[in-house]
Symmetry: C2
Subunit: 159 residues, 2 copies
Amino acid sequence: MDSMGIMARKPTAADQALRLDNQICFAVYSTAHAFNRVYKPLLDRLGLTYPQYLVMLALWERDDVAVKDLGERLFLDSGTLTPLLKRLEAAELIRRTRSTEDERVVLIALTPQGHVLREKARAVPQSILAASDCTVGELMAMKDEIVALRDRLNAVLGE
Amino acid sequence: MDSMGIMARKPTAADQALRLDNQICFAVYSTAHAFNRVYKPLLDRLGLTYPQYLVMLALWERDDVAVKDLGERLFLDSGTLTPLLKRLEAAELIRRTRSTEDERVVLIALTPQGHVLREKARAVPQSILAASDCTVGELMAMKDEIVALRDRLNAVLGE
DNA sequence: ATATTTTATATTGTGCGCAATATATTTGCG
DNA sequence: CGCAAATATATTGCGCACAATATAAAATAT
């Protein structure tokens, strides 16, 4: 074998598969970071990090929900959410209260400031759309493909 | 306004744009995490984290390169790479040496073990392909679309 | 040649993201 | 009922990611 890459060897399919540029995972990984960087200045104005923004998006659709519920919607666990939610509570955007029906559950509710922030967030998607330099239709088609891939990957994990 | 969501109001385009399920960024973000979780057991066997795997992929293609060069290929800065590379050095997969031509530059070279690890990594892409439950063609087409989006996002940042 | 600017890497601090573990509550089984 | 298993959240530790800053070397300007 030519594991040192010194001797000449015909590139195999396995070689091609290891090329960085052929990795869809790297495409996804690096695009996620690119999104993060584009969002940064927009979210700074809202006082949110990107994961915090996702939590707020989820809560603007439906709040008074358990941490577990949020975790399922965002694919995050309590190890990530608990400290993040504590920071949102410190920022007075949400309240965390133990459920009286089930003392294990912590319910997350928006504060008035949390609700109001939604208005300031309305301009964000438009800025992102402009930065992506795509039509809404193109982005939504791509989104559907990526989500389908994500769901297949998650299905494998569930086995 | 109905920022509290209490009064009835016709959903606007801005409302739709704020829905979590409509966010391509969330699709990308959650897919990146899904990939991470699928890779985890495969990379554990190699003793690598996912970002370390990406660095190794880059180095298997071309090593004896500056940290800067690696950073440009992976879209990462020295704040991320320096500690990561120190860990790969501690694992004896790479060597870090100051360039004699330009004392600012740290050159990254694979050790023999680093080269050898490539053979163990050959099985990884195949496992990922199986988990994605797609054809190579479908994945590559999707990859190209995502990369095009990433490059447009990065172009905006460069302005 | 010296001073200024630029470049390459390293360091520090904050916030994820997740595995592993801990704690408390609830559910279900006998 | 009493106890084991399951469930929900919290905690700890590690490794990114990145902004801000520091340091040192090289390039450039004057």
